[in-house]
Symmetry: C2
Subunit: 272 residues, 2 copies
């Protein structure tokens, strides 16, 4: 992933580890996407919600583990999350954030200092960057990475199992592959249930309500070549989509592509 | 597992499926252990807690997935759990229950009709019977099954990651195996992260605070033969032990060995 070689960072700053990226985000040195940085370290989606909704949301995640694989949950009001990052401060350690009120995006601040509340709970949710690293290590090409664009994502007709106010369709990401690579990708990603796990669908987009693969709902379209089939994974955009649809009075999230870089290693997530 | 062939059930009653066992429990026809019944179906540990503690407990489980693999969570006050069992009624569908007040066992009723409250949340937690079935299918002998006794369980010096009032040591189960079978057992149980997953320790009991394998804290001792090593899995007794230690004002659970039999198939839990 070389798409972000152009991101301006002060000369000599290291972005080799999750903590490096967090500190660079905290200092303001890193303001864009985290893709390609902290190789080997788990990057996570963020959902930050009032404590009164925390059990509903965690129950939603338990019921929908493929789109919503939880890798860390904070204590209510506590901006640290030491189980996944040394001296992590969730208010500053991501390059940028989104602030939602009643489901509407109202601000995209560089930090959450003005938006933090004593009743907030942070959920860190696994992200496909972890399994993409394992796929690339197995020499499975990923077209969106090769082209330097965002992975194409689609809303499906697969309903998530609801919990409290949280409900809605599963969002999936799509990667075109040769059949042989698709089979190998099933094997590899099955070892990573805490970062979306095995594909949820393969080969027949219309069967999950996707009419046109050239028109993704999020991200960028990629070409499907002769002899390739589309492979679909549950996507971490699902919880964001569900939180927005629920018109939660107050919710915070990471900015697009600006993930929380943790101290966990992708390799440590493999179950077998 | 033939240990329960002697359990008295009315002539002709089938205990072949999870629902069969639930209905037999509901009617009072089945009053003992569920081991050996509903082969192929997931059996679960139960923890039933007041809603005000539900987020703390679910967060505890998220932080300790090996001893506390959650397979279902109810809506507050709702005695059904349709995601894991058709027309399941948690108040009646287990052969027997335990009632704890302030951490003390105060009753062992046959049903929860007199103990149900509108603020209770049910947690169904995976159980080693699921992975034991996979081990036996691979011709790996399990001594406690051969001997018709309970698996030996030990408190360790491994601290669970706390959440709210829930804290305490991990409890493990032990199965002696030849080294070749131990390796195969790691492979097989790694595929089942939602029912405790891979072993948490192998070979050196003193390293996890176990002084004497002949004196389990729960269950029955089993012999370790020449050429065998002890293999340890995180155990679903851990959440019970933690709930009891937290002296929760009101908590319900299944009776020993009397599990909630679900409609889920063990084979469906495999991640790869």
């Amino acid at each position: 992933m070389t798409a972000h070689a152009s991101i301006a960072t002060p000369g000599g700053i290291s972005l080799a580890t999750g903590r490096d990226v967090r500190l660079a985000s905290r200092s303001g040195a890193l303001t864009g996407s985290t893709a390609g940085f902290a190789p080997g370290f788990v990057q996570a989606n963020l959902a930050i919600l009032p404590a009164k909704l925390a059990f509903d949301f965690l129950r939603f995640c338990q019921r929908n583990p493929k789109p919503c694989p939880v890798i860390g949950v904070s204590e209510p009001g506590d901006p640290t999350l030491s189980s996944i990052g040394l001296d992590l401060d969730i208010r500053t350690d991501v390059p940028g954030y989104c602030v939602y009120k009643d489901g509407v995006l109202v601000d995209e601040p560089a930090d959450l200092k003005a938006y933090w509340r004593e009743d907030l709970v942070t959920f860190a949710i696994g992200c496909s960057l972890s399994f993409e690293e394992a796929l690339m290590a197995a020499d499975i090409p990923l077209r969106h990475v090769e082209k330097g664009v965002k992975v194409p994502m689609f809303r499906t007709n697969i309903a998530c199992v609801p919990a409290g106010p949280f409900a809605g369709p599963m969002v999936v990401s799509m990667r075109p592959m040769t059949p042989a690579n698709a089979i190998r990708a099933v094997q590899i990603t099955s070892r990573f249930p805490s970062v979306h796990g095995a594909p949820i669908h393969i080969g027949l987009p219309e069967a999950i309500g996707i009419k046109d693969l050239s028109k993704p709902d999020y991200g960028d379209a990629v070409e499907i070549l002769e002899g390739e089939i589309p492979v679909f994974w549950a996507c971490g955009v699902t919880p964001q989509s569900v939180i927005s649809a629920a018109k939660i009075e107050y919710a915070l999230a990471h900015g697009p592509g600006m993930m929380l870089c943790t101290d966990l290693k992708n390799s440590a997530l493999a179950t077998g």
